[in-house]
């Protein structure tokens, strides 16, 4: 009896662990992708108006 249930319990815990680990990995990878994309854009001199410290169009870095 015990060993028969063991497979059910292991399956339930195993599937849950895999699914949550997958969700976690997906969320982390997505976070990394967006952080990198933002860094690449900022490295090209494209910044948000609030971070340039002035009105739009004052960003001279993009002119070069």
């Amino acid at each position: 009896m015990q060993s028969e249930y063991f497979a059910f319990i292991t399956a339930a815990y195993g599937i849950s662990a895999v699914a949550i680990a997958g969700l976690f990995a997906w969320i982390l990878l997505d976070a990394r992708t967006q952080r990198r994309a933002l860094k690449t854009l900022e490295a090209r001199g494209i910044r948000r108006r609030s971070e340039v410290g002035g009105r739009a169009g004052q960003d001279t870095e993009a002119a070069k």
Binding site: M1, Q2, E4, Y5, F6, F8, I9, A11, A12, Y13, I15, S16, A19, I20, L23, F24, W26, I27, L28, D30, A31, Q34, R35, A37, L38, L41, E42, R44, I46, R47, R48, S50, A62
Partner: protein
């Protein structure tokens, strides 16, 4: 961020309404949330996997310590999204739509897990993997609604355009939450009635109840940690999209 005078004047609610401040604050809170979640899940499941076998269910009662938290989460996440939907429709809170979009896939995963672990528990205890009774069917409908919401929040390029229909779908779908909760009382179901959240207090000895509550708390905090990370990413994604458009405009000019 350095403008302290503006921050001092505004309330906590409006401080959080600013995505940049939200990123600052959530970045600090995030590691602690993951630590608490991990601790709660480890202690809860550690205790749960050493409980004595139930007199009726034998060792399969151990499935309860994940199944019940998942089932609780799939309802709680939709409720969190419903509050966010009010945030979108009533207060036009800039982060409310971000919260809904970020929560939907996490909710879908936990709903799927509630269904799967329930099915695995049902097979040895009920003699069937699945039955179309009120509880199982209403949770299955919730799962489909999560999938629909994921599709809707990702269908339109412009995130602002999907915000309103998504919020309406969430609020309309909220009707399903009390149906799920009370389905076991309103209809004759194979699923057992509530044994934790009920009028006369929990109908469960402390040996089972304590690990269950700790585990549920751990998974709840895990959801909020994952949700925070996903929300931060969604804010960054919108910034990347806005900056890419800016870059494209400059290239044209």
């Amino acid at each position: 961020m350095t403008d302290l005078s503006a921050g001092a004047k505004s309330s906590r609610f409006t401080i959080l309404a600013n995505p940049t401040r939200f990123l600052d604050l959530s970045g600090k809170v995030q590691p602690w949330l993951y630590a608490v979640a991990l601790l709660g899940i480890a202690v809860g499941l550690g205790l749960g996997l050493t409980v004595p076998p139930d007199y009726q269910q034998g060792t399969t009662v151990e499935i309860m310590f994940i199944h019940v938290p998942f089932a609780w989460l799939c309802m709680m996440i939709w409720t969190v999204m419903s509050v966010s939907a009010l945030g979108t429709l009533v207060w036009r809170h800039p982060l409310a739509d971000v919260a809904i979009k970020a929560a939907a896939p996490i909710g879908a995963v936990f709903t799927a897990l509630a269904l799967i672990t329930g099915s695995i528990w049902g097979r040895p205890m009920w003699g069937t993997w699945w039955v179309w009774d009120a509880r199982l069917t209403s949770v299955f409908v919730l799962f489909i609604m999560y999938l629909g919401l994921i599709a809707l929040t990702r269908a339109l390029e412009e995130p602002g355009k999907a915000a309103k229909p998504a919020a309406i779908l969430v609020l309309v779908g909220f009707i399903n939450i009390p149906i799920i909760k009370f389905s076991v009382d309103w209809w004759n179901t194979l699923h057992q009635p509530a044994s934790v959240l009920r009028m006369n207090g929990p109908a469960m000895p402390a040996t089972y109840l304590v690990p269950l509550l700790i585990s549920a708390l751990g998974f709840t905090v895990l959801f909020f940690a994952l949700h925070l990370t996903a929300m931060r990413t969604e804010i960054l994604r919108r910034r990347v999209a806005a900056l890419s458009r800016l870059a494209a405009r400059r290239a044209e000019a």
